[in-house]
Symmetry: C2
Subunit: 128 residues, 2 copies
DNA sequence: CAGTAAGTTTACGTTAACGTAAACGTTAAT
DNA sequence: ATTAACGTTTACGTTAACGTAAACTTACTG
């Protein structure tokens, strides 16, 4: 499970088509925690997973703060009852927004389908 | 089809739980086109539909520019072949990003489910 | 040993999407 | 007549998420 593969900052930048600036910024915001080899940042596969999560979050319109919240759910889990309860609440909330998004997407897909049909009908008339 | 219901800016603001400032801003950006009664803005049901669309877009992380693009799909459709082709392309692109978002949501929902299970397991151990 | 390729820090600039405040005009009620 | 509730325009302020640039180090490469 503990993948020992490491990555440089430019490797990750290339793979995910983002800038190194962005990656360093995510670190500033506490989303990534690369180790150092001298001055240089070394990223573990864990960081790569988190990066994926960040970008997935961005595609869904999440802020970096929200993605940081999601990343924290990957941690070895809080110690006491209260922390666990808080965690479950956070999870439940996220699940609700995801379900809302699912619903929104269905509506939009329907609207787009209708719009597409209108276009195709109008185009057909040109071809007569 | 032509609903004659009209709305004041504060009615819409209250209904959708946004500020009047935001609504005026959307007009500035060319997303809404209320008529005027003297100085005051009067919104038709069409505007209300567009407002819904804007907020739905926001929940999915769309920019106002993107939502404006979506609104334009509701128009009486472009005149010539080229415009129609452009329109269909835009629609196809949006459909792709929506499908990508659907995929992203499935993954996230799965991750959240696992995280929730870990939490519940940890909580069960407290109750023994 | 000069060059260049990849890394670093520091810092100011930029865009989107409003928030906030000032200063003012209607209309209705007290 | 004044206060309240709602509306208007104009304009500066704010936050997030980087972009861009400068100035520098480290490592290899011809």
């Amino acid at each position: 499970m503990s993948d020992a593969t490491t990555y440089t900052i430019s490797q990750l930048a290339k793979e995910f088509e983002i800038t190194t600036r962005a990656i360093r910024f995510y670190e500033d915001q506490g989303l990534l925690h690369p180790t150092r080899e001298g001055q240089k940042r070394i990223y573990l596969s864990k960081d790569r997973v988190f990066l994926k999560l960040i970008l997935r979050g961005k595609r869904l319109g999440f802020s970096l703060a929200e993605s940081r919240g999601l990343i924290e759910l990957y941690n070895p889990i809080g110690n006491n009852r209260v922390q666990l309860k808080t965690m479950v609440d956070k999870i439940t909330n996220k699940q609700k927004t995801l379900d809302q998004q699912l619903h929104d997407i269905q509506i939009m897909k329907n609207d787009l389908k209708k719009a597409e049909q209108r276009c195709r009908l109008a185009m057909d008339k040109f071809d007569t």
